[in-house]
């Protein structure tokens, strides 16, 4: 009987193909939206946490803050190379320490001119920040100690200055310094925060301090903890050490900050997750609206088919058989809509993920849930019109014009 009812439902839906499609459109869009939102949201979460991890999940940034003196805030004292060496020497839970100083500088190669950040640091910078070389080499001991004019280009800078030309062993002018290109970084792309991580030039810290900045200041010290678990400990140790070295009284506010990437990544993940939930909820509302659309059309259909219901009853259909017929029709409609929406949602989110460079994360539980919800909508909103149909008086139904 159920099979026959199912066949009858399909026949009825096919008989009114256009109307059935329009009826089910609400469900299609609802299910599609839920799946697309949640899938893309999940992709965004993974991308964000992945990006932060690329920066180094166990990365700590030590930077000078600003000091308040009355109404004006004055930039706090910079760090020096000694501070970095002290961290490496005295903090046990630290693996790499990279003191850096940087400044936006214009650079020239042949007739091309470009301005980018020039960063002075030591080789540990690559380990701490997660950069790798595309080709060439990193600085030698001597180059770092003596401060020789050599540099490694970020991919964006290389493209701007060299285009299709070979950059290795070429000499560019950075500020007033003629500088030999010894390597090119592999591209890291955009960071989570939207800035280009390839738009910089790295040179030895000594070279930067002597030939570009003319000071021995260190702007920020990047530190990578031994592992993810030891970031908290490392952070505490560095804070203690720097307070001591900068002679900050116990209880006074420090004039520097130690920031933890893990914190940032957790916050970002929480935010994207909350956004996903929010968008998913909005999409779920549209699913509900789609259900009401089905109920509306089923009610119209019951009125339109009053005579048919009368015929079926005269022939011997019992109330629950008429009920079953209309409920099954509503379920078939919404399940078809759910299937269509599923396809649309997955295809749409796949396309969008490709377009904006998010990972496409298929979440079977969400797909199943949205689908099950669409079937539930069919039952919930199909039952009222179906009850109405099943309670008709056969004589009046037969007389209905």
């Amino acid at each position: 009987m159920l099979w026959t009812t199912l066949v009858m439902a399909f026949r009825e839906i096919r008989r009114n193909a256009l109307r059935s499609f329009l009826t089910t459109l609400g469900i299609v869009i609802g299910v599609g939206a839920v799946i697309a939102m949640v899938t893309l949201g999940q992709g965004a979460t993974i991308k964000v946490t992945g990006d932060v991890a690329k920066m180094g999940n166990n990365l700590l940034t030590v930077s000078p803050g600003s000091e308040r003196r009355g109404a004006v805030s004055v930039a706090a004292t910079m760090f020096t190379l000694d501070d970095a060496n002290a961290i490496r020497r005295d903090v046990s839970s630290v693996r790499f320490v990279a003191p850096t100083a940087s400044r936006a500088t214009s650079m020239v190669y042949a007739n091309r001119n470009y301005t980018a950040t020039v960063t002075g640091s030591i080789n540990a910078y690559l380990d701490v920040r997660g950069y790798a070389l595309d080709r060439g080499r990193i600085f030698s001991e001597t180059e770092q100690r003596v401060g020789m004019p050599v540099c490694v280009l970020g991919e964006t800078v290389r493209k701007e200055l060299f285009g299709a030309e070979e950059a290795l062993d070429a000499t560019i002018r950075v500020g007033k310094l003629a500088c030999r290109v010894v390597g090119v970084f592999a591209s890291k792309g955009q960071s989570t925060f939207g800035f280009d991580q390839d738009d910089f030039v790295l040179m030895p810290l000594a070279t930067f301090q002597r030939r570009i900045a003319g000071t021995t200041d260190v702007g920020a010290i990047f530190v990578s903890a031994r592992d993810e678990g030891s970031t908290v400990k490392a952070k505490r140790q560095i804070e203690a050490l720097m307070r001591e070295r900068r002679r900050i009284a116990l209880g006074a506010a420090p004039d520097f900050a130690v920031r933890d990437m893990k914190e940032i990544s957790d916050t970002l993940a929480t935010i994207t997750r909350a956004l996903t939930a929010l968008l998913g909820a909005v999409a779920a509302v549209s699913l509900l609206v789609g259900g009401i659309g089905i109920m509306n059309i089923m009610l119209v259909s019951v009125t339109e088919r009053t005579r048919e219901i009368g015929i079926r009853m005269a022939i011997g259909a019992r109330a629950h058989e008429v009920l079953l017929q209309f409920v099954v029709e509503a379920i078939v409609l919404s399940v078809l809509g759910g299937l269509l929406g599923m396809g649309l949602g997955l295809a749409g989110s796949f396309a969008v993920a490709r377009l904006v460079g998010l990972p496409f994360v298929l979440m079977p539980e969400v797909v199943l849930l949205a689908f099950a919800f669409s079937a539930a909508v069919g039952i919930a909103f199909g039952i009222f019109p179906a009850r109405k149909a099943s309670r008709l008086n056969p004589i009046e139904a037969l007389r209905h014009e």
Binding site: I311, R312, A314, I315, G316, R318, E321
Partner: protein, 253 residues
């Protein structure tokens, strides 16, 4: 289907009890001042194999009687026994089962499912009887052949003439081999040539298959095909007797 004591399964030995027995049946519509007696104590007995024409002016209660005999409606008071079973106390679902197993309907307005082929229309009662698809198709095709509609099985009602549509309706009514075929003004929407053909079909079904037929009509020409005529007036049976054969009317005996 757990049948239990449902009316459809409560089979009564035919022959003992009359097929249809109404005694003192009243049907009242409305309440208080506006009460209307559609039937005011109707008595009627119909036996197997009869071809009864029910006549009477409009408002005489003949349609109400038809609905009660067809188990679509129940009497307000009085007794209606169908094959010995008291119908007045049955539930809606039990009535539905009675209709499913023993009754066939033909209406003035044909009442076929639109945009549904003839054979599918005829199959419909078998669907509710849980007949398997293959057997269903076979029985439906046989019923369509019996009413002379071979070759039109795939046509939808819109593609058939009025007479053909009514034949499909008759096929639908007889496909289940009912004890009784109820026809409510079956020729009301047909021209006279088609009406005659249809009546001849009904007479043939009555004679060859022994199907009991109860037909409501207000056309004496059509009533002439029956074997017994019951006339209703003011909710009561006014006259009941063998159909008088008027000269020139009806069929050759």
């Amino acid at each position: 289907m757990s049948a239990g004591a449902t009316a459809g399964e409560r089979r009564v030995e035919p022959g003992r009890a009359p097929l249809v027995a109404l005694s003192g049946v009243e049907k009242v519509y409305g309440k208080g001042e506006s009460q209307v007696y559609a039937l005011a104590g109707a008595d009627l007995r119909i036996d197997n194999g009869e071809f009864v024409a029910i006549m009477g002016p409009s408002g005489s209660g003949k349609s109400t009687c038809m609905n009660i005999v067809g188990c679509l409606d129940q009497p307000t008071s009085g007794s209606y026994r169908f094959r010995g079973v008291e119908v007045g106390t049955l539930s809606r679902d039990e009535l539905a089962l009675l209709r499913r197993h023993y009754l066939g309907f033909v209406f003035q307005g044909f009442n076929l499912l639109a945009r549904t082929s003839a054979v599918e229309n005829v199959e419909l009662p078998l669907v509710y009887r849980r007949v398997a698809a293959g057997e269903r198709r076979r029985l439906a095709l046989a019923a369509l052949a019996a009413v002379g509609l071979e070759g039109r099985e795939k046509h939808t009602p819109a593609e058939l003439s009025g007479g053909q549509q009514q034949r499909v309706a008759i096929a639908r009514a007889i496909v289940t081999n009912p004890s009784i075929l109820l026809a409510d003004e079956p020729t009301g929407n047909l021209d006279s040539a088609r009406s005659v053909a249809l009546m001849e079909l009904l007479v043939a079904l009555n004679r060859t298959r022994g199907i009991t037929i109860v037909m409501v009509t207000h056309e004496p020409d059509m009533a002439a095909y029956s074997t017994r005529t019951v006339v209703f007036r003011d909710g009561k049976v006014a006259s009941d007797g063998p159909t008088s054969r008027r000269a020139g009317a009806g069929h050759a005996p």
